[in-house]
Symmetry: none
Subunit: 215 residues, 4 copies
């Protein structure tokens, strides 16, 4: 295959360039940009969201952007960071409290809630992951956390006999997580008319999840 000039990843200086705002005004501007970005992502998607669009919506000059973000990608990274934080919090919170079904229900519901609330960020994130290794890595990271947590839970359930002993724990953890993640993504991307909605979705997925692994 013809050699292709390696497209090298971004490098160091960028990081320092992202001056942390020192004044209240700066803080506000940065936040306006983030809010504008959400809007623009929602409207045209990550690939078509131009820095200038974001600035126009935010009501700032085009150059101002680079006072707060070293580059276009950093904008999404910032947004994703918040979202990822919430997801991680979810993954780390206690999952077991009462009966299995309500536990599963609570976790799935939490996931759906966070996902729907940050829907546009998630969509942009997923799209950008196809091209930005940094975002792809973060995406994988978050998922890995969830899968690990599910895995641990299932293992415990198997150990004390609540779950089937013949489960392939790894496949089950990955598969059930994938089911929830993708179902939510698809449903929130669907036409409003054919959307299942949070309630049914959460109940239905909980039902499948429980039936799939517990005795």
């Amino acid at each position: 295959m013809g050699e292709r000039p390696a497209r090298e990843e971004r490098r160091g200086p960028d990081v320092e360039r992202a001056a942390v705002p020192r004044t209240r005004r700066g803080q506000a501007t940065r936040e306006r940009l983030l809010a504008a970005a959400r809007e623009v992502f929602a409207e045209v998607g990550w690939a078509r969201a131009r820095v200038e669009d974001v600035c126009r919506v935010a009501g700032t000059g085009h150059g101002t952007f680079y006072q707060y973000f070293p580059n276009r990608t950093a904008l999404l990274v910032a947004l994703v960071a918040q979202h990822a934080g919430e997801l991680n919090a979810l993954a780390e919170a206690p999952w077991t409290s009462g009966d299995v079904k309500s536990d599963v229900h609570r976790v799935i519901d939490g996931f759906v809630a966070v996902s729907e609330q940050d829907r546009d960020v998630r969509v942009a994130w997923a799209a950008a992951a196809a091209d930005e290794p940094a975002l792809a890595a973060l995406f994988g990271e978050v998922r890995r956390q969830f899968v690990a947590r599910v895995h641990a839970n299932l293992a415990a359930a198997v150990a004390d006999g609540r779950a089937r002993a013949d489960l392939d724990l790894e496949v089950a953890a990955a598969g059930l997580t994938a089911m929830v993640e993708h179902s939510v993504a698809l449903d929130s991307a669907a036409e409003p008319s054919s959307r299942l909605g949070r309630t049914r979705l959460v109940s239905g997925l909980t039902d499948l999840w429980v039936a799939a692994v517990y005795r």
Copy 2:
């Protein structure tokens, strides 16, 4: 040698520009381009795949590309069309033959097989769907077919008592399809070292699927 006269705007739509090759040689060139595209997509992904790269890999001149495809997107569309055809064939083939478990296994295995074989096309397809409505629509179309088929099967199973009567059929159909689709996608995108592999994946997913819905 391309002497250019006064340049002017484009004419009609790109449609008829996609000449169907009329000779064996043309056919071969077109195929070389498609094969090259697969390679390039695999290497750099859809968004960064330049027409020129594809041509270099295919060993043709840059202009040759446009003898066979009206634009860059059409290349992916052509590749996707083949793949979608196989998926649809799968969705339309008979699904029930013997016992439930082996039926489910066969279908999932078929899906995984097709998906892995056209892995790069699927990845590019998904990435492009974020920006190309046509591809997004096709993506939805194919999934809808599968979900509908699953739905019908579950309904039949409920009717004759093989499946649980309290299933939310729509959520179940969508959720299980999502589980398989996403699990496969993620696994084939994972580091080779942490990949579960087709055998385990198919068995494990089959197990979950069967346990989730059948008595």
Copy 3:
């Protein structure tokens, strides 16, 4: 430095891309581009005038052009607008003041003056009109104004007996206007050595015009 991310299709129409300069510096750049365009059109003609040529002559970067004009055609449109404005002013100014001959002379002279001064724009305009409907329409518009004005004047002259009563007013208005317009165009396009020159041209055309329609 233009790092390009995933490229995608164009957005909305080019309209809002034509930023109006907000600073003196921007204003100056825009004007430099317009002046450069005149030069380039004069040298190589509309069809062969490349955006890059204009930028080189203007001493700006290639991208700068698109800060001020949404596309190559808009450059000509801007130039034409100024010129058309002057022509329309001419068509709307008072035409009658003293005796018929000096009135006609004044109008023709004004037209020739404006035409010669913007010679290159006119030539480019005419050339582009063959392919750009917008410019063709504007061309027709301006001419229509003139013809209408001539028509009205002739009608008045017929009414008060200064002009021949048997005139076909429409043909006369269109024909005499065409005579002046085309004579000027041809003369300014001719070899300098065989050019008739403004003085003779204006006198001679005035003479023909007067003799053709007045008693």
Copy 4:
């Protein structure tokens, strides 16, 4: 001004490349191409007429074109040659036969007839003249012939007292020719609804012409 790489004119070999068809079949193909060219020019104009379009309309292969014409321009040249021949014939035919008015009428009518019949070729010719020196020269050539002929006629008329003695013969010859030429061009390019039509045009222009120069 920035130097610009001289865009050199075409050169010798082209001429010999235009093989004269030796067989009846070849002759027919060539004519099909010419006829197709007229159609295409009429439909999309010279600048947008692609060689391939002409071939498609003619029903020949794309490569066939170059068996009969060395390049795209030659196609128009061939068409123009026929048309120019008719115009020259007109310019060389006897112009005086009876009374002045009917002579002028006859000549103008002949010109209009030829122009309307080859309307599309004339339009293409004029458009191409802006960019192709060869066609521009031919255009000037034909006009020069006409102007010279008009000039001679006017001179004779002045000599024998039929025309005004104070005429500026050169301006009159150029101006009246321009009037007819441009009036015809504009009228045939106008919306059918606002067209004056051959009859009125010829009568009206004849009237103006006669009044303008004859006693």
